[in-house]
């Protein structure tokens, strides 16, 4: 029995296994550093479904914080700008039950408009804007960049002279939407050919 036992055999086995362990450990370590994933892919996915108005009506300072809160288990029905479509999309992705919207859905797409003659240049709206869509400086007239405005309302409350209105957003001419009820005419155009 003692003849068949050799230190050399044991040591070589230990050596080979240790070597393999070190090699694969290093490989895995490198791979995890090289192909590092995003911090929390689910938060990213939830964030992508939110309308990104950054309006804070959900009680969180922006869409991303709300996405994080949803991930932690907060309700999915707190986003009025997104409305029912967002709730359904979130419910679908997270496998939760859709709930009725908490609050009132936005009736139309709006954009902030500053009545420039009345603006006193206090910069309060500029500080409130979550997407830097208002330009101006202290004691200078401010104005809203229409294309950047998300219609979040956050600039309306801080204005001391109440010179900001939320107006319906203008639709560009190219944004053609078909009238749903006109199903007949086109067909009639060549029905009798």
């Amino acid at each position: 029995m003692s003849d068949s036992f050799s230190w050399w055999g044991v040591l070589s086995a230990v050596g080979v296994l240790t070597g393999l362990g070190i090699t694969f450990g290093a490989l895995l370590g490198m791979a995890s550093a090289r192909f590092k994933g995003e911090e929390n892919p689910l938060v990213e996915k939830i964030d992508a479904l939110l309308p990104q108005t950054q309006c804070g009506q959900c009680g969180y300072p922006g869409c991303r914080p709300y996405a994080e809160a949803i991930n932690q288990g907060d309700a999915i029905n707190k986003c009025p700008p997104g409305g029912e479509a967002t709730i359904l999309a979130l419910a679908d992705m997270l496998g939760r039950d859709p709930a009725p919207l908490d609050g009132e859905a936005a009736s139309e797409d709006t954009v902030a408009y500053i009545r420039e003659a009345e603006c006193i240049g206090c910069t309060k709206c500029i500080q409130a804007c979550p997407v830097d869509a208002i330009i101006g400086a202290a004691k200078q007239m401010h104005t809203v960049i229409e294309d950047e405005c998300t219609g979040c309302d956050l600039c309306v409350a801080p204005c001391p002279v109440d010179c900001i209105d939320m107006l319906p957003r203008r639709k560009p001419l190219t944004q053609w939407e078909p009238i749903v009820s006109d199903r007949q005419p086109l067909r009639s155009a060549h029905a009798g050919l």
Binding site: G62, V131, T150, P178, L186, S188, A189, A191, L193
Partner: protein, 556 residues
Amino acid sequence: MPAYEFPGGIYPPERKERSNQAPLRPAPLPSEVTLPMSQHTGKAAWPCVNVGDTVKTGTLVARRDGMVSANVHASISGTVIEITDSVIIIQGDGEDRWATLPPLDWRTTERDALLERLDDSGLIGLGGAGFPAYIKAQVNEHHAIDTLVVDAAECEPYITADDLTLRHYAADVLEGAQLLARLCGAAHIIVGIEDNKPEAIQALQALLTVIADSEPLASVTLKIIETRYPSGGERQLIKKLLNREVPSGGLPADIGVLCHNPGTLLAGLQAVRDGLPLVARVVTLTGDAITQPGNYWVRVGTSVDALLAQVGVDDEQLHQVVVGGPMMGTPLTSLDTPVTKTTNCLIAATKEELPPAPAEAPCIRCGACESVCPAQLLPQQLHWYARAENDAALEAHHLFDCIECGACSYVCPSAIPLVQDYRSSKQRIRYKRIETAKAEHAKHRFEFRQARLAREEAEKKARRQARLAQQQSASSDAKGTQAVPVADLRSLRIAQTAAKAAVRKAEKVLARAAAQDPQQRHDDLETQLATAQENLKAAEARLAEARAASEQKEAP
């Protein structure tokens, strides 16, 4: 040369004989024109005249806005009486005084000057889509073009505008083709024409023998094809003439072909040779309710109502007016609409001629639509998905390869308005894409703002810490009584390195995008880079603050 086949297609009654008997005539000069700012693909033009200005025929009244857009010119001489967001209205003085550009010789003039002329004259594709011609002529900067296809198939029933254009101006159309071929670097010109236009074919054949002797810049071939709808579709015609297939989601330029309508070529030549901006076009006026059907040179902006009255229309018989052909056109809801650069045909139809559609019945899965689809799509599947608003499935079934030719709705025994469904689905998906892009943009701007605020905060803290350290070293008796929270230097250094890596990554992504598409603006990527830079500055400020704090702690 043999003709190849494209899949599907239908044989609707042609009804072209009604409008192709009379010669091409000029329509009477309108007393007032309404010029829409958006007659082309892309952004609307921007008015550059004021109310009350006197204009001549050909005076520039609206300038193009951005790359994909086209100039608009006054189509009669007179006074500008109204300018709104979407139209300019000109009251004519009946004199038709012209303001033309200096004539150029396209053979000797530089390429850039010719392109500028096409741009200045507001030339767009007159076949229907209305894509600005000067951009199309520059396409060879990105793709090598070997063949210019003259799309004279004119496969839609009723329309004969290209037919009459070729009968009267065959030489000019072919010269215009040489001009465009020179601009895009094509060595061959192929004219594709359906066999139901014998006079036009004759005119072209007579010319070809003359041209072959004169050593033209590009060789010209005439190819007569079978009459089948929709052989005039760009992709279908290219398949038929050259046996090349335009890839899904691609353009003919991807396979080295450029397609132009004869009307566009004629207008292009007139813009260069005669200096005439695009202010008039050939319009087919046809239909049973019209007493003098035919093709007319119509000034852009003429009201449909006035135009029909001038050629004589039977108001009692008139049931509807369709703009474009009966297959792809749209019925007008109001006759107070101007003729635009892309209006090729007006059908004033009686009720017997184009009767209202029967009520829609459920799909019986007969598969007739599938066999006639020239784009080899599955109209039936698209129909279910469109009704269910299943946008992901629609895109997976290549909805955007649908050319909206209407062959499927034409053969549908259940009278389902299939194309209408596809059109509204396309529109809905496009709208969704715009919304998603907008949300993405707002998100980046929000992130940038957050990063900037964090950076400002960190810098403020760092400055405060530095001041504190200075004060303490000055008064050495102070023994660091204040408990300064010393952040973990190591984790801050890691954060700084990560922020640096993020900046490098954002720079790389932006550089790659810019190299791929130098024409485009990459606002979102630039914002992302700026956000990463802000984050880096914040990390550096935090690190500096922690260093100052730790030095201060060690010092006493």
